[in-house]
């Protein structure tokens, strides 16, 4: 499998490490136990496009949000996690 790092270009998957679901968000400091259990343990397992966090550890050390089809491994989108997180904050602030 290959991933196209937005900074480094197309690379083999051996340069990356997988972390997991990119759709969960860390709860606020005062969130209840249920929110934390959800965040830490509960994951969907969709058949189809899925957003995941990958780390270009052997390259530019960027965390990436990758959209991968879990059935075909087709990668339809790769973004810098930092840009995604920043954009969400700006949206949230509006």
């Amino acid at each position: 499998m290959r991933l196209t790092c937005p900074f480094c270009g197309s690379r083999g998957v051996e340069e990356f490490t997988y972390r997991g679901d990119a759709t969960v968000r860390r709860p606020a400091g005062d969130a209840g136990a249920a929110a934390w259990v959800d965040y830490v343990y509960l994951r969907d397992n969709p058949a189809g496009p899925h957003q995941e966090l990958w780390y270009h550890g052997a390259g530019c050390r960027s965390w990436l949000v990758v959209t991968r089809d879990t059935r075909t491994h087709l990668i339809s989108d790769v973004r810098a996690a930092r840009a995604v997180a920043q954009a969400e904050r700006e949206e949230g602030a509006v």
């Binding site: 499998m1 400091g29 966090l53 050390r61 087709l74 930092r82 997180a85 920043q86 904050r89």
Partner: protein, 1009 residues
């Protein structure tokens, strides 16, 4: 009894079956080889199979299960029968297909799976019991008693059903791995592949053309066919030359593309030196390529199907296309009197080629009724008897074909004497590469073949692999596919001018077996899968027992599960199953083919990463110096670290380590601790960031001070620990454990980039930048005074415990000094730029000599940390919490940090959780072993009474006793209690007292000294 000489008695030198005109051999040169110890000759360009056939040798091996005599079925990589041991000694390679083993001078091969000799095989008796060795035999027979499996059944089966012998010594050759990139990968260099490569290559696209054979051309070399009025193989050579002249085209012969992987990645194996007796110096035997291609044209051709009839495995029964390959490419006649048995027009060509080469053709048997196909015309052209609507119902001869029984359309049987039966059940497109991603092929009734349907992205299939069987159409199809692939990569591709091909017919009527009306007992000798000895009867039996799914059939009968992956058997098996279950072939199913399509040696997959170079070694800055001191090294992740430094006269490592510990506790020692992860953290929000990743507080840490920090995972369990020093207002340097250095870096980046992008902070590893050396012991300060430049005040007041700062050493070398202690003694860690690490070690030895200095290794380091009760890897095992490690009070309640919420869960704060304690055996000589269970004194060793475990253990020279750290339920409340350390592996129980985990200097006075 029979002797090997009775089957074939060639004269060394003479090649009685050689005929003129082999386009792929150099008949002017003769090379020598041996098979089963006998000398033979051949020509450059021969395979082992073609050279053996040239000598009339037809018996090549014994079958897997029944030890039946087997000959050479094919002329290519699909060969299921002629498997040999190639080479000798450490280079001996079993199960090598004689049909692809290129001949070289001095080649040595041996038949396998026979004893004592190929012609007389004692275990050939298996054949007599074949009725009990049928489908599912293993499952049914070796069920009970279970103990018999290991002692009796398995060794017996392995001996009887063995294949070749692996070499007994390590492989002396090198292997290589490499990556290649291209726009268009073309797999196969037959007419379609060559045309595709020309079309794509001429557009300027970067093309890689892979051909698993040693020569390009594919079937163009195997057939007597004309292109533009010239022999077709000449055109193939010209096309190759034209491709060679294109700068962006790379032709890779002897390179098999064996797998399709995600994202346009292909696996290929290049046999760099397999055609030589041994690789040249520095040369790899094989090279594993990962080819990254934007587009791929699969022009892998097709594989001819055998016909299933009784005795179809007798040596001398050969695929018709293979017969033509031996005639036309190798100049070898595989027999003197042949019968051709076919269901299609392509097979008929065999009779023409045989007749032209001077081989007598005794009959053409065509399964199609009279008037269908071109059988009558061909028979007439060769002057050969023709049997339309016929079938071969039996084969005479055991070690080799001596005749066949043929039944005609009217049901009359006759025996025809012959020594060669050329059979063709039609061609199956070689679609393996199209199915590796899970795409299933569909059955085409007209072509009697499975064709690729959906394809992986970027892949096209051309030529015979796509069911396009005539040369003219394959050329056109290939050119189109090549042009389209180049266009998809943005190149303006045109179709190349193609040569004129003669008209040809590939008409076919389905024929998979000739079993109708054959007595069922004879089905047992009608082979479907030659390599795994699966017969038509086995398929029928499996179906009768309910295994009617192809996947079940495969597993129950082992059909298609040999090293040939059923290349010649899968389609026939599906067709048989379809008939038995009365379903159309297309609805009976297919099996998915997995990579690799050809056997790939583990050595090639490992490449250069073997033995000492299995993984890279990271060397510390003092490595060479430590080597010169006779240090014994140990691997710590990738790092090589000095484990201890033996001295002359020391009896064992324990004596050495005890001496090293005593040196630190009583005088001074030093240890290279460079391997601890070091991360430079800078930025306006650096302090805030540390607050969020560590459990404890950081904002109030003054510049010039260090602090111990503990990190949790988000689930509340302990992750890593280390000290972090504040070097400036917005500048920190963090240390991590050696094992987690990379992981903590990724964790910090994760927290920063994903969780808190608003924090302004930067990280970079400085692990390699600094040679960091711990100097520990009561004399540490005195030693350092000789190293650190005198302007820096090292007094306890000026540079107290946990102080950190920049200094210069040895007359101006920039350095960092930290007053940290892992040993519990007065201690420092001195960091100098890595290039000076070696010199610093030497300097410390010099100036420390009057104080009794000695280097110490990781073992002494470990003993001292156990004596001080510091948790390390065995305690930070991913299952322990801060509370378990006695650090529950470190958790700040005034801030958010990673793991805070989950750490507060009831189950994680339960005082009954196993918690860190010290363990001191009542008898100091009783060895404490890590992993022992902790039980109440006198309790039975049951799971119910298990209360924890010993995590770390060592002999403490300071206490003169074995000691341990353990995690014990309610531990801190139980100091003074006696527990049992139960080691079920050794069957020992040691009684020990629960104590504080800090065995030495519990008040911590020494570190402040």
């Amino acid at each position: 009894m029979m002797d090997a000489r009775m089957t074939s008695a060639p004269v060394a030198g003479a090649q009685p079956r050689r005929v003129a005109g082999g386009n792929g051999i150099d008949a002017g040169r003769t090379i020598r080889f041996t098979f089963d110890g006998r000398q033979y000759t051949g020509h450059p360009g021969d395979t082992l199979a073609s050279a053996l056939l040239a000598h009339g040798v037809r018996l090549a091996g014994r079958s897997f299960k029944y030890h039946r005599p087997r000959g050479i079925l094919s002329a290519g990589p699909e060969e299921p029968n002629a498997l040999v041991e190639l080479r000798t000694g450490p280079r001996r390679e079993p199960n090598t297909r004689a049909t692809v083993a290129e001949l070289y001078d001095g080649l040595s091969a041996a038949s396998q799976n026979r004893w004592p000799s190929l012609a007389f095989d004692a275990l050939g008796l298996n054949s007599l019991f074949s009725s009990v060795l049928g489908a599912g035999f293993y499952y049914k027979t070796f069920m009970w008693p279970a103990a018999f499996w290991e002692k009796l059944y398995e060794p017996m089966i392995r001996r009887a059903a063995g294949l070749g012998r692996a070499a007994d010594e390590a492989d002396p050759d090198q292997y290589e791995k490499a990556t290649a990139f291209c726009d268009v990968l073309v797999v196969g260099s037959g007419p379609a592949g060559l045309a595709a490569a020309l079309a794509a290559g001429r557009s300027g696209a970067r093309v890689i053309l892979c051909e698993e054979d040693s020569l390009t051309g594919g079937r163009l070399r195997a057939e007597r066919r004309q292109l533009d009025g010239e022999p077709a193989w000449r055109w193939a050579e010209q096309a190759r030359k034209a491709l060679e002249a294109l700068p962006e085209v790379r032709i890779m012969e002897r390179t098999c593309v064996f797998g399709t992987y995600d994202g346009g990645t292909y696996g290929a194996l290049e046999r760099v030196a397999d055609h030589q007796s041994q690789p040249a110096k520095g040369q790899p035997r094989q090279r594993l390529w990962r080819v990254v291609a934007r587009q791929c044209v699969v022009a892998a051709g097709a594989l001819e199907r055998p016909i299933v009839f009784p005795g179809n495995d007798t040596p001398g029964v050969m695929l018709a296309g293979a017969v033509r390959t031996y005639l036309n490419r190798f100049g070898v006649a595989p027999g003197r009197r042949a019968v051709v048995y076919t269901c299609n027009d392509d097979g008929l060509r065999t009779a023409l080629d045989l007749a032209r080469a001077g081989v007598a053709v005794a009959a053409i048997v065509d399964s199609r009724p009279e008037g269908e196909g071109q059988g009558a015309q061909v028979a007439q052209a060769c002057g050969v008897p023709f049997v339309p609507g016929g079938a071969v119902t039996a084969v005479q001869g055991r070690m080799a074909v001596s005749g066949v029984s043929v039944r005609d359309a009217q049901g009359r049987e006759q025996r025809i004497a012959c020594d060669l039966l050329a059979m063709s059940g039609g061609w199956s497109p070689n679609i393996a590469l199209t199915t590796h991603q899970g795409m299933r092929p569909v059955y085409d009734e007209t072509l009697c073949a499975f064709l690729p349907a959906a394809l992986p992205p970027g892949m096209v299939v051309a030529g015979a692999a796509a069911g396009v069987f005539t040369t003219a159409e394959a050329l056109r199809d290939g050119a189109q596919a090549g042009a389209r692939a180049a266009q998809a990569c943005g190149f303006a591709a045109e179709q190349p001018a193609l040569p004129e091909a003669e008209p040809e017919s590939c008409a076919i009527a389905p024929l998979f077996h000739a079993l109708a009306d054959v007595p069922s007992a004879r089905w047992a000798k009608a082979f479907v899968d030659f390599q795994n000895d699966v017969t038509a009867k086995d398929v029928a039996l499996a179906a009768r027992e309910g295994f009617v799914s192809v996947e079940h059939l495969k597993r129950y009968t082992t059909l298609g599960m040999a090293t040939d992956q059923g290349k010649t058997s899968n389609v026939n098996a599906i067709a048989l199953l379809a008939e038995i279950t009365q379903r159309p072939i297309g609805q009976t199913g297919t099996t998915l083919i997995r990579p690799p399509t050809q056997p790939v040696a583990i050595g090639a997959l490992a490449g250069a990463h073997r033995g000492r170079h299995f993984k890279p070694a990271r060397l510390t800055p003092t490595h060479q110096w430590a080597e010169s001191q006779g240090a014994v090294f140990t691997a710590n992740g990738l790092w090589q670290r000095a484990q201890w430094y033996p001295r002359p006269g020391e009896m064992d490592w324990l004596q050495t380590v005890n001496r090293e510990v005593r040196t630190v506790r009583q005088a001074v020692g030093f240890c290279d601790v460079t391997t601890l992860g070091k991360i430079d953290i800078q930025g306006p929000d650096a302090a805030e960031f540390l607050e969020r990743v560590y459990v404890n507080a950081w904002k109030k840490l003054p510049v010039g001070r260090a602090r111990y920090g503990l990190m949790l995972r988000e689930d509340g369990f302990a992750y890593d620990d280390g000290t972090t020093a504040r070097l400036g207002e917005t500048h920190y340097v963090m240390t991590t454990t050696t094992a987690n250095a990379g992981g903590v870096m990724a964790h910090l980046e994760f927290c920063h980039q994903w969780l808190w992008p608003e924090l302004d902070v930067q990280f970079i590893s400085v692990t390699d930048e600094w040679a960091q050396i711990a100097v520990a012991g009561p004399q540490a300060r005195n030693v350092l005074r000789h190293v650190v430049d005198p302007v820096f005040d090292l007094s306890n007041e000026a540079f107290p415990y946990m102080a950190a700062g920049e200094v210069t050493v040895c007359g101006g070398v920039q350095a960092r000094l930290f007053r940290l202690s892992f040993s519990g003694e007065l201690a420092y860690e001195l960091a100098v730029p890595a290039r000076y690490g070696d010199a610093l070690a030497r300097r410390l030895m010099e100036v420390g000599a009057p104080y009794g200095i000695a280097p110490y290794g990781t073992e002494a380091l470990g003993v001292m940390r156990i004596e001080k009760g510091h948790p390390a890897g065995p305690e930070l095992n991913g299952q322990t919490t801060a509370h378990d490690l006695g650090m529950g009070r470190m958790l700040s309640t005034r801030k958010d940090f990673i793991g805070r919420h989950m750490a507060q869960r009831e189950a994680l704060t339960d005082p009954a959780r196993p918690t860190l304690v010290g363990l001191q055996p009542l008898n100091p000589a009783d060895q404490v072993v890590a992993g022992a269970h902790l039980l109440p004194d006198g309790a039975a060793a049951t799971a119910a009474s298990d209360q924890g475990w010993v995590s770390s253990a060592a002999f403490s020279p300071t206490l003169g006793s074995w000691i341990g750290l353990g995690l014990l339920s309610n531990g801190p409340a139980r100091h003074g209690e006696i527990v049992a350390l139960h080691n079920p592996l050794a069957g020992t129980v040691v009684r020990a007292r629960v104590v504080s985990p800090v065995f030495v200097d519990p008040e911590g006075a020494r570190v402040h000294g």
